[in-house]
């Protein structure tokens, strides 16, 4: 059994974590699409610290003899998934970044030519 004091500290930490998430959402520094992910995470941590038998039950289900190991395994998997998710987000952002840069170059050229009145006649082409 986990010592009572550890459970109390963990519960307080989890509650603070949830509070920070709420504040981030409220102040619009965290988008809705990520808010849910972190709310669920905070809730799971809170649940594990309050329901003191949960970790042992989960560990038994998976077949892990030492319950804290289950915590590490789950935490590691969670972090892996989050990182993978961020990679996809970064891919998408950099893709859009390239498109925007190209658009700026194309528009800037049209503007420059327009100001000089020497642009290619778009209807006619070449």
């Amino acid at each position: 059994m986990i010592p009572f004091r550890v459970s109390v500290v963990a519960a307080i930490a989890a509650a603070l974590f949830l509070l920070v998430i709420f504040e981030l959402i409220r102040s619009r520094r965290l988008q809705e699409r990520y808010a849910l992910l972190w709310l669920v995470t905070g809730s799971v941590i809170l649940l594990l610290s309050v329901w003191r038998d949960a970790l042992r039950l989960v560990a038994e289900q998976i077949g892990i003899a030492y319950p804290p190991s289950a915590l590490f395994v789950l935490g590691f998997l969670f972090i892996l998934v989050v990182l993978l998710h961020y990679s996809t987000v970064i891919s998408e952002l950099s893709e859009r970044n390239v498109l925007l840069a190209q658009d700026i170059a194309l528009v800037e050229e049209r503007l420059r030519m327009h100001e000089r009145g020497t642009g290619i006649d778009r209807a006619e082409g070449a």
Binding site: V98, A101, Q102, I104, A105, L106, E108, E109, M113, I120, R122, E124, G125, A126
Partner: protein, 233 residues
């Protein structure tokens, strides 16, 4: 013509293209140079696209294709701004397009003419790419990493929408063209010695890049196509 810090050579390359045929519309895509590349290109009479920051060769080339597509060009040629490609061979590379025999024409350095000599490590890599890509597109190609190539409207619309951004993107682009069943054709060209700036790739680095490009090619085989080309009428 994608260009990154090419101020020393770009003016002359543009004038050489003009000398071949003054009817060519020359577009320089300045990929975030921090020298006078853009100003020199404009002074030499080229149209200029200025990217706000460096996108890398693939992003710059694609910008040019997007420009060509948006402005109604039927044919676009990609040529280096460092003077490696000989503008007098533009006709060679354009011929199959004008005859309607191909959608993409690649100026090959290893198809017989000329004596292009790259350092051994790089040459080996180029031959490996050629062998692998030939297998994928089921057509013998000798030089898939050449950046001297010509496109018609059909291949232009593909590359404007979907162009690889990695290192040596031309290899991947060739595979992409094959995947979309575009007609590829190689034309032998001669390559001039690079005038300024030697490539500084060492052999281990070459091997690393070779592996990297092959991996990119392999991955691109499984990519879902980004668009559907209409069938040839």
């Amino acid at each position: 013509m994608p260009a990154l810090n090419e101020a020393a050579t770009i003016g002359r390359v543009i004038r050489e293209i003009r000398d071949v045929d003054s009817g060519f519309e020359i577009l320089v895509v300045d990929d975030g140079s921090n020298d006078e590349t853009g100003a020199i290109a404009e002074a030499a009479g080229a149209r200029l696209l200025r990217l706000p920051f460096n996108l890398g060769i693939g992003g710059a080339v694609q910008t040019g294709y997007r420009y060509a597509l948006a402005n109604g060009f039927d044919i676009a040629v990609q040529i280096d701004g460092d003077g490696q490609h000989d503008p007098s061979q533009l006709r060679l590379i354009l011929e199959p397009l004008l005859a309607g025999d191909a959608d993409v024409v690649i100026g090959s350095r290893f198809a017989g003419v000329g004596s292009y000599r790259a350092p051994r490590g790089r040459r080996l890599g180029m031959h490996v790419f050629a062998a692998v890509v030939s297998m994928i597109v089921r057509q013998p190609l000798t030089d898939t990493s050449s950046s001297f190539r010509a496109l018609n409207r059909r291949s232009l619309s593909l590359f404007a929408a979907d162009y690889p951004h990695g290192f040596l993107e031309t290899v991947e682009a060739t595979v992409l063209a094959g995947k979309y069943r575009l007609r590829l054709k190689e034309v032998p060209v001669t390559m001039r010695e690079r005038e300024l700036g030697r490539s500084s790739l060492t052999i281990p680095l070459s091997l690393f890049y070779t592996a990297k490009v092959l991996l990119a090619v392999f991955v691109s085989l499984f990519r879902r196509p980004a668009l559907h080309l209409e069938e040839e009428p």
